[in-house]
């Protein structure tokens, strides 16, 4: 392994450069925001130009898109999906609902503040965000990856207990395996 600090830095730069151009998005439409993903991915906006494309399973994916509101039932699956994902991994919050509850701020079944449960790297404004906004979200994520600042996953590991406490507060029946990344 490379121990030298400078060499590590160079490796990081190369790694980040490579990572920013291959953003594979997990095909999981957690909420209504998923409807703007097909236009983003298909011919009109063609996100693949930026290296963004779909991935079928969590193990292959780099980015977890939280497309809007998360019901408590979905949250459980999303946590599981997120923990199955391999490093590097990023979370993009999509629209109002992920920031402060959005339209469903008084619903008994949706979470309101996503970053209490999962580390979010980029938020995209809108309800719903247009494909341009989605693309600019990915661009922002790329920028952050290139700068080495997209460290949500690291934050998650470091603060796992805090996240777990929040998660368990609304998921009473916690029957999930612990994933070993």
């Amino acid at each position: 392994m490379i121990n030298d600090k400078n060499s590590q830095k160079i490796v990081d730069i190369i790694q980040n450069w490579a990572r920013q151009h291959s953003i594979w998005v997990l095909a999981y439409g957690t909420g209504c925001g998923a409807i703007e993903l097909p236009p983003t991915m298909t011919s009109r906006y063609d996100a693949e130009r930026l290296g963004v494309r779909g991935a079928a399973t969590p193990r292959q994916a780099d980015v977890l898109l939280i497309t809007g509101y998360l019901t408590t039932k979905t949250l459980k699956r999303v946590i599981r999906v997120y923990e199955q994902m391999q490093d590097p991994k990023y979370v993009v919050g999509f629209g109002s609902c992920t920031i402060n509850g959005g339209m469903y701020y008084d619903s008994y079944n949706t979470i309101k503040v996503l970053d209490k449960y999962l580390p979010v790297d980029v938020y995209i404004n809108g309800c719903m965000p247009r494909p341009e906004a989605v693309l600019s979200g990915f661009a922002k994520l790329q920028e952050r990856i290139a700068e080495g600042r997209a460290e949500g996953a690291k934050k998650y590991k470091e603060n796992l207990e805090w996240y777990r406490a929040n998660q368990k507060k609304i998921i009473p029946n916690w029957v999930m395996p612990d994933y070993n990344w």
């Binding site: 109002s96 509850g101 979010v120 600019s136």
Partner: protein, 595 residues
């Protein structure tokens, strides 16, 4: 189906014909498609136009809009001083806030791009955080699209030609359906309560009317106004000037709604039943009140509710003061006022009629006898014109004229009446004279739009055939050989802008003398006080420019004496007097309960 289908295998290959065609891909971020002309993007708020009514925050089903204080924006007349802030973590860009914005200051723009890693950066104050949004406004509301109802439910009135035949009330009042419809236009912002001198609970009682609960409306109204039916008929209604709806439409008919609610209580007994006032046990303290005008009655009513023994001394035969004697009966019928006075008496207020302080009883007696004194003495005297021939027979004070007519006396004014002045008294005198079958002309120094009188009154006068000559300055009353008024000579005036930025001044044009025939001339250019009854207290109770000097609790320079109404404030309307009375009541209560 055969195993090998040639057509079905080859047909898909026609996709190849797309090869080489120009793609319709928008290569964002290199190329960006502009949003549509009607796009619902971020908010923009014109901070100067916004009045902080908060209707946007009320309609927002996502509780996304907060009303906050912004630096540099002060509240004031018709502005709450608050401005909306949008939480983009809640907003769904439905633009309902835009649709209900009464001023049209809030709109949506073509901007929609915002990406951030900081979830706390999604609170935006439109207009402050995006001053450039003004150029990109795309979704806005016009009078046509707005969800505010800008048209007032019209009030039924008697025809102009019909109403000069009698003193019957001109305005007929809303029917129940009309009142509900009118009340439901209100957006309950409460900006009106700020300018109401009495700070009546306007949104609350309008809402009660809209909900079909008239009794609650009456109760809310009586909370700080014991003469609401009078106000409902003749109030100067400054509230309607600042109504949020009035920025682009017709103000809510706040006055007519109050009138509607209070008229549902047809007698004093019914008022008592509905309001069901909680009268505190007598506390043994007494308050003497001089003048049964609006301020005196108000102070008396609320003091009596608080357990004080209240006695009013009134020089005339009836209570009501200027509202009884100064306002013609076609605006405020006697029965209506009587009902309200009866109600006030029914809770234990004693009124000594025909008792003029200074003549029938001395001020000192009252001062010594009571724990506190309230003076609502009003302005019983009027300014004279100060022109030649003013003492001719048939030349009189409009205020005296109204007093006599309202007292039931007969006054002969002939068939050609000239009224000088542009205030409500002038219009009242003119319209009363029309009912006496006289032809009436109003001479006013300035333009019609400068007239201090209520615009509805001016319109009413015109509909009844009153002739208004604006920019006319009377210089002489011409007498005939018997000493009767024969004509009035006046000069035309031109409006000269005031150099100091005040309103334009009328300046007489030399040689524009005009003579107009007349059988009576009435001066309605202002009234003044008469404080001779308390001459021995001149040192203790200070008077400045014809008015009592009071603090903000209506207390005069003598701590035991309070004053209100025309003798204190210069607004010269009943609601200010009521407010004075209410304030004085609270101050007296505070003072006496401490002792």
């Amino acid at each position: 189906m055969s195993f090998f289908d040639l057509k079905g295998t080859l047909k898909p290959l026609t996709a190849l014909k797309q090869f080489g065609k120009e793609p319709h891909t928008i290569t964002y971020p290199k190329v960006s498609k502009e949003a549509a002309d009607r796009y619902r993007g971020f908010h923009y708020n014109d901070l100067d136009e916004c009045i902080g009514c908060g209707n946007c925050s009320t309609i927002c089903q996502n509780a996304a809009i907060d009303m906050i204080h912004l630096e540099g924006i002060e509240g004031g007349k018709g502005d709450s001083g608050l401005r909306p802030r949008v939480d983009h973590g809640r907003c769904c860009w439905c633009a309902l806030c835009v649709e209900v914005c009464p001023t049209g200051s809030l709109s949506l723009t073509k901007d929609y791009l915002y990406v951030s890693e900081d979830p706390d950066s999604f609170l935006w104050t439109p207009g402050k955080d995006n001053p450039g949004g003004k150029e990109k406004i795309s979704f806005f509301s016009t009078e046509e699209t707005s969800l505010n109802v800008f048209q007032r439910v019209p009030m039924t009135e008697i025809e102009g030609t019909e109403r000069i035949k009698s003193f019957a009330e001109v305005v007929l009042g809303y029917s129940e359906d009309e009142a509900r419809a009118e009340a439901s236009r209100c957006i309950s912002c409460g900006l009106c309560t700020e300018v109401c001198p009495d700070h009546m609970h306007i949104p609350e009682y309008i809402n009660a009317i809209a909900n079909g609960n008239d009794a609650d409306a009456v109760r809310i109204i009586y909370d700080n106004n014991p003469l609401p039916e009078m106000c409902g008929k003749v109030c100067t209604r400054r509230c309607e000037d600042v109504c949020a709806i009035a920025t682009r439409g017709e103000a809510i008919a706040i006055r007519w709604l109050k009138r509607y609610a209070t008229e549902t209580a047809k007698t004093a007994d019914i008022i008592h039943e509905i309001v069901n006032p909680e009268i505190k046990e007598a506390n043994g303290k007494t308050v003497g009140i001089i003048g049964a005008g609006p301020s005196g009655l108000t102070a008396a009513y609320y003091l009596a509710l608080r357990g004080y023994g209240v006695t009013i001394y009134e020089a005339s035969a009836k209570a009501g003061g200027a509202t009884m004697y100064g306002i013609p009966k076609y605006r405020l019928p006697l029965e209506s006022l009587q009902k309200q006075v009866d109600y006030i008496q029914s809770i234990g207020v004693k009124i000594h009629f025909n008792t003029k302080v200074g003549k029938d009883i001395t001020f000192k007696e009252i001062y010594d006898h009571y724990d506190a004194v309230f003076m609502g003495v009003g302005f019983p005297d009027a300014w004279s014109l100060g022109v030649d021939g003013e003492n001719a027979k048939g030349s009189m004070q409009a205020y005296r004229y109204l007093y006599m007519i309202n007292s039931g006396e007969k006054v002969d004014v002939g068939d050609k009446v000239i009224v000088v002045g542009g205030g409500n008294v002038a219009i009242d005198a003119a319209r009363v004279s029309r009912r006496m079958n006289a032809e009436v002309t109003i001479l006013y120094r300035r333009r019609v739009e400068d007239m201090p009188a209520d615009w509805e009154e001016i319109e009413g006068a015109e509909a009844e055939g009153v002739h208004i000559i604006p920019q006319a300055i009377p210089i002489k009353v011409i007498e005939d050989e018997k000493g009767n008024v024969k004509a009035v000579e006046y000069l035309m005036a031109e409006m000269v802008p005031d150099e100091r930025g005040g309103r334009p001044k009328p300046v007489a044009i030399e040689g524009s003398n005009t003579i107009i025939e007349a059988t009576a001339v009435m001066a309605a250019i202002g009234q003044m006080g008469d404080y001779s009854f308390m001459s021995e207290f001149e040192d203790k109770i200070k008077i400045n420019r014809g008015r009592f000097v009071t603090n903000d609790k209506q207390q005069t320079t003598d701590p035991k004496v309070f004053a209100g109404g025309d003798a204190v404030n210069s607004t010269a309307d009943a609601i200010s007097a009521i407010a004075d009375g209410f304030r004085a009541c609270k101050a007296i209560d505070e003072m006496l309960s401490k002792k």
